[in-house]
Symmetry: C2
Subunit: 146 residues, 2 copies
Amino acid sequence: MPNNQFKKGELYSFITGKASTAIARRLQKNFKQAGIDITIEQWSVLYHLWKEDGMSQQQLCDATFRDKPSITRLVDNLEKLKLVKRVPSKEDRRMNMVYLTKDAEQLQEQTMELANQTLNEALEGVTHGQVEIAKEVLQMVYDNLK
Amino acid sequence: MPNNQFKKGELYSFITGKASTAIARRLQKNFKQAGIDITIEQWSVLYHLWKEDGMSQQQLCDATFRDKPSITRLVDNLEKLKLVKRVPSKEDRRMNMVYLTKDAEQLQEQTMELANQTLNEALEGVTHGQVEIAKEVLQMVYDNLK
DNA sequence: GGCATATAGTTGTTTATGCAACTAAACAAA
DNA sequence: TTTGTTTAGTTGCATAAACAACTATATGCC
């Protein structure tokens, strides 16, 4: 008998992720107010390229937990915005390496600042210890299901 | 200086909600395996109607944390599937009250069972106490931002 | 009553997701 | 070299989300 049995009324909000929806909406709003016209999904791709430029689309799939069609189209849209460039790999011609443009590099500092600020709004009144446990739980859920 | 300042590398996954994405995908998969052809978003509307049948579309917006166009289209699709019916309110002719059909009532038990099972898969190895804290944190985040 | 305003719901447009089917290149075995 | 399989990426289709603009009804105030 599992010891985490949810009561009906509690289960729903845990599944539907209202909290992460709320964070994403607030971050999007904060981007918009700052005059930054990219979506959170596009930003999530840039985020990984800032950590390591020149990832393949497949690597972006793994990093962002999205499927291949999603990454194809996000990269399409980021190319239209002139924020990334696809460069065919020389070693393996099936692969596209995705590189940041100058424009995208300039977005890093400001958007990371806004993301931090958004998280601080979100976590107002939550203790450091609680946050650590919440992150652990979310990581375990992810590991259990991925 | 906020005491919840995130380190760069940690912040991202908290925002993008990989865990709730993973839970939703797994639940969708479990529905499909059981031969239940509804989306998680449609299920989330039915979930609230099972608790209280005959809600208005606006009430469904508040309950599901979705905007009005989203609910309009979810109800459209649920009507096509013959799972709900719109009934114009007699007191206020602007409102549609949304009612479950017999078909939808029959889905309740099986899908709630699948949802519980999915959460148990997700929370394997997580203690009851950790889950309680995670729920609290997510609730506080939601309250801070909604 | 008449007018301004608020509320409930719909429609159009763009972006994103999930799934299946597809192309092209790489690789492995004979 | 050919044949079969795997891997990287794209395309088509249905569903859903966010936002803005819209219609219709209700309400509050003069």
